[in-house]
Symmetry: C2
Subunit: 306 residues, 2 copies
Amino acid sequence: MTTLVFGHKSPDTDSTGSPIIWAWYLNEIKGQSAKPVLLGEPNTEAAFVLKRWNLDKPEIVSEVAADTPVVIVDTNNPAELPTGINDCDITAIIDHHKLVGGLETKGPIDIRIEPLACTATIMWKMIGKDMAQMPKDVKGAMLSCILSDTLEFRSPTTTQEDKAIAYDLAKDLDVDISAYAAEMFEAKSDVSAFSDAELLRMDSKEYEVDGKQFRVSVLETTAPQILIDRKDSLMASMPGVAAEDGADQVLLFVIDILNEEATLLVPNDLVKTVAEKSFDATVKGDTVVLPGIMSRKKQIIPNLKV
Amino acid sequence: MTTLVFGHKSPDTDSTGSPIIWAWYLNEIKGQSAKPVLLGEPNTEAAFVLKRWNLDKPEIVSEVAADTPVVIVDTNNPAELPTGINDCDITAIIDHHKLVGGLETKGPIDIRIEPLACTATIMWKMIGKDMAQMPKDVKGAMLSCILSDTLEFRSPTTTQEDKAIAYDLAKDLDVDISAYAAEMFEAKSDVSAFSDAELLRMDSKEYEVDGKQFRVSVLETTAPQILIDRKDSLMASMPGVAAEDGADQVLLFVIDILNEEATLLVPNDLVKTVAEKSFDATVKGDTVVLPGIMSRKKQIIPNLKV
């Protein structure tokens, strides 16, 4: 039976590239039958990466039948996975997020979670000497995952290992990291095709603070002004998105990759309080700039207070 | 702050030896401050191993203060760990059991779970070339963990890796595996000091089948007759132990290490049904022999039916 390899819903570059990397490894090195799939349309950066490296876009699935062998990458959160994930035959988990609790397996399996910036970095370590056999297109996906998750090493999640491996891959592929990362971020910044609700859900994680359910959304961009110009309609869409998704409030952080700062939209007093208590910010008006804030995982989620 | 390294409650050899191994690694190789502790009195085999290798018996603790840095080994099950474990600063998990769900971490951490017979085998792989610096007493603990968890390679959980590493260690330590394993199992088989209730809880895991809560207990021994001779009082103690521990029924499997079979005590019709449905056994009287059954993880838990 073919093993399906997938990352989280609303796939970004790491959740699109890592399944391709691991399915290659299982098929070509381990002699197993594996297939990368996506749990939704890849974001614009991930779509650019697939095209740049001539990789086939993996099939998009929304459900996975019980007992299907699956490898989960780039998440361990049941909320970001298909309903009934625990009825699948989970054969491995490779991830770099905090342990959320909730995934269960029927027997002992391979689980590898490390505090690195990117799933692909962990895979590089696990693949080891077999990296020599990896074709250029898959290596291109690997490099792209690292540059995406580290925001070209600007994110405080970046480790020496992520960086060293990215430089190694770039040299091998003869890629200029800065020029290529700029192309990736430009692709990610092209949000013209998306509705406000789609933008609020594009890169979003649910998180509870003191009984309040937040949808913590980030939009990483090199063109923040385009999003800030849409702030009125984005804020107008927040109550509807929150209600539909069972949250109390959407928090939208526009991450300015080049200037290394975030702008939080402030539609009401609840979010104003969050900004003041969590980031020691002085809020005037309906946006607030948070200097140095780049990472939801390291800087936003651990500091959220209401 | 010193990191505490511990395994599960009711520590067996792997949950006693693995904390010693990993604390050595953190202290001597990683330059961190770490201390092995136990969540209860080690079983008779583990006590023998400590003495045989002149290892200090780790301190026994029952509670761990919030925010204490901890490494959890040989389990990922909150029920087998101190209350409030999720309030500790869990910095790593190294285990070889199925993912139970329930442990949560505040940030991304190192988690390494592999389907090998023994935690110490995974540690051997993680320590890698630094194994050269490990002193003989710690290597002795490592060998003991593998021989204990594999029942000297008889258990179906045994992998080629467990076996290869054990032979490697035994050669290095100049230990005759069969003679040493026989000493270990003899120590484990000396149950004279324990009450019936202590025996029922000595090596026990909670498991639910179709709404019924079982305490699935195994006693691995080279002298099964001693236990079978105590069957009447063991069965008489089951209802009290089950009630105190919130279970519906205790299942006690006496594992005959040398003859590679289990004897299940059958105190009532519920257990009779379990024996018949799970193991295709024909039950006459209050015990039933299950040929080839050695492993709770691989052969008992996955097959339990009511």
